[in-house]
């Protein structure tokens, strides 16, 4: 990396929530701008510096023909490309359209569907270009974002766990909501949020997407067996933020009958 690396933040189809996590790093942001040149970050400034970029953070899914081209250009201009959030890593909530006919969606949502140019699917960035790192979550976790940026600056491997939410849940000492009767996606979901939902007495919604070796069928079958959920509930649980992530897609489809 050059003396003061150039960081660009790009937005595709998304709600901006992940970019806002970067803005949420209030205390750290000043320090970050001291060591990094922020070359493009429309949430924070209108100024756009030309490439190439040392690191690009990409938020959002590829949902329009324009985005399909844009991501190729960004890849060419970026030494390291990190996709951030459920939209960029798995298509996001809008990937629900992959399970339906996009024409029905467009005419249901827009008054003038004829003006809408959209692809039939919402897809992850990695389906279009090579991605160097992925940060999961809807939205991403601020500490993970800082960890990746700092690790890259210091040329070390970032600490991004691939195991289950349960490990974080147990480390922080939360008593398991699942075993106490609330359906929880934690055992099949990747860690990184520090088990936020169970710590607030809720089941994990799976917003960090599939963990390294998810066994969705076993978890789902147990919930059905214990009358914690019906198959239709499981379809919904696997198809929320990461419906198009292969392991969740497969599990969700298997309960759709």
């Amino acid at each position: 990396m050059s003396e003061k690396p150039k960081l660009a933040v790009w937005k595709f189809s998304s709600c901006d929530g992940c970019q806002l996590s970067l803005l949420d790093c209030e205390d750290e942001l000043l320090a970050i701008t001291g060591v990094i040149t922020v070359a493009n970050f429309v949430e924070a400034s209108r100024e756009v510096l030309p490439g190439p970029y040392d690191v690009s953070l990409v938020e959002g899914s590829v949902t329009t023909p324009h985005e399909k081209e844009l991501i190729q250009e960004i890849r060419k201009e970026s030494a390291i490309l990190i996709s951030i959030g459920a939209c960029a890593t798995a298509g996001g909530i809008q990937a629900l359209k992959n399970f339906a006919d996009v024409k029905d969606y467009v005419s249901a949502v827009y008054a003038h569907p004829e003006y809408i140019k959209t692809l039939a699917t919402a897809t992850a960035i990695s389906e279009h270009v090579k991605v160097d790192y992925e940060l999961r979550g809807c939205p991403i976790n601020k500490e993970q974002l800082l960890e990746v940026v700092i690790a890259l600056l210091q040329k070390r491997r970032p600490n991004i766990p691939l195991y289950s939410v349960c490990i974080e849940c147990k480390r922080r000492g939360t008593s398991c909501v699942m075993v106490k009767g609330t359906p929880c996606m934690g055992p099949v979901t990747q860690a990184g949020c520090n088990a936020l939902c169970p710590a607030h007495n809720r089941g994990c919604y799976g917003c960090f997407g599939p963990m390294e070796m998810p066994n969705g069928r076993s978890l789902g079958n147990w919930m059905i067996d214990k009358k914690m959920a019906e198959p239709k509930d499981l379809v919904r649980m696997f198809r929320t933020f990461n419906a198009d992530a292969p392991a969740f897609k497969e599990a969700g489809n298997s309960y759709e009958k």
């Binding site: 349960c166 147990k170 480390r171 055992p187 076993s218």
Partner: protein, 389 residues
Amino acid sequence: MKDAMPAVCIDRADFDSVIKALAGDGYNVVGPVLREGAIIYDEISGVSDLPEGWGDEQEAGTYRTVKRNDKALFGHNSGQQAWKKFLYPSRERLWSAQGDNAEFKIEPNAETPPKYAFVGVHACDLRAIEIQDIVFMNPETADPRYGKRREGAFIVAVNCAQSAKTCFCAAMGTGPRAESGFDLSLTEIIEANAHYFVATVGSARGETLMQKIKSRPATDADLQAAATRTENAQKQQVRSLDREGVKELLFSSYSDAHWDKIAERCLSCANCTMVCPTCFCSKTEDTTDLSGNHADRWRLWDSCFTVDFSYIHGGSIRKQVASRYRQWMTHKLASWIDQFGTSGCVGCGRCITWCPVGIDITEEAKVFREEKMDPRLRGDDEVVKGTKQ
């Protein structure tokens, strides 16, 4: 101790003074509390923090707190996490490093570890602490911070008067009565007109503490009442594990097809290892700040259920979930014996209750046992090919 102090009785009304005396001696007193529908261990300042009148119902993958029909203070069994979370915290800084181009300095974590008093340690968990002592206090692999916390800890054991459906300490020979390793042990007695504790002193520290506590000598009837309580607890145990030859059984089941069967259900979520009071595995993680002049090395609980755990150059050795469950079960019940001279399982039942899909180590052990009895079910390699789905 040469002359063991004879057992005494502490009235329920005077029990608060035990907690207060420990706090007065500078201990962070930890005991059971009711929180978010579970009985867990946390700091307590008096008897009113204890889960009076609450018990628990446990089954594989299920835990519920239930109102008891008495006012027992210790009417519960194993909670989700044992004392490990205090003696061996899930995340701890090992050292910090400070440096720039001129100088690089490493500073060990110098924070004074808290001095704990644990009130309500069940027999199985007491044995689990002793097992972790073998791991962390032997000269070869000593963890000095564990050692400091452990040496400072005051232990008030409570002999169980009931068992959960997931308990099998009797089969593992660890309980329900604590025989040694405590400073003070208690059995809670609740009768129509009386509520008191039969107390046995186990150390000089315990004896000093008891000098501050109002008590009366225990009669034969009191001792009998206490013995009956733990006998009842033992009789209630519905699970068991046949320890006889279990090491050979598991070692010879290495390529058994049943591991794959378990893996169909296992989530590799690691909950079993996280809640197990003897599991000790950890990983280290280095964090750095933005300036790059400061780094910390952290020790974190880890588990043999993660892919990364068996990562060596070129990839992970245990790629399949079957091999990870096999590692866990074989380590707990078999290779632990070779490694530390004792079983790694104390029969607390936590891995059964807190497995999100109720996988039960006692049931799985039985399957291997029954397969060995019936050669047609035996999973040597030829049979594996035929029976695998």
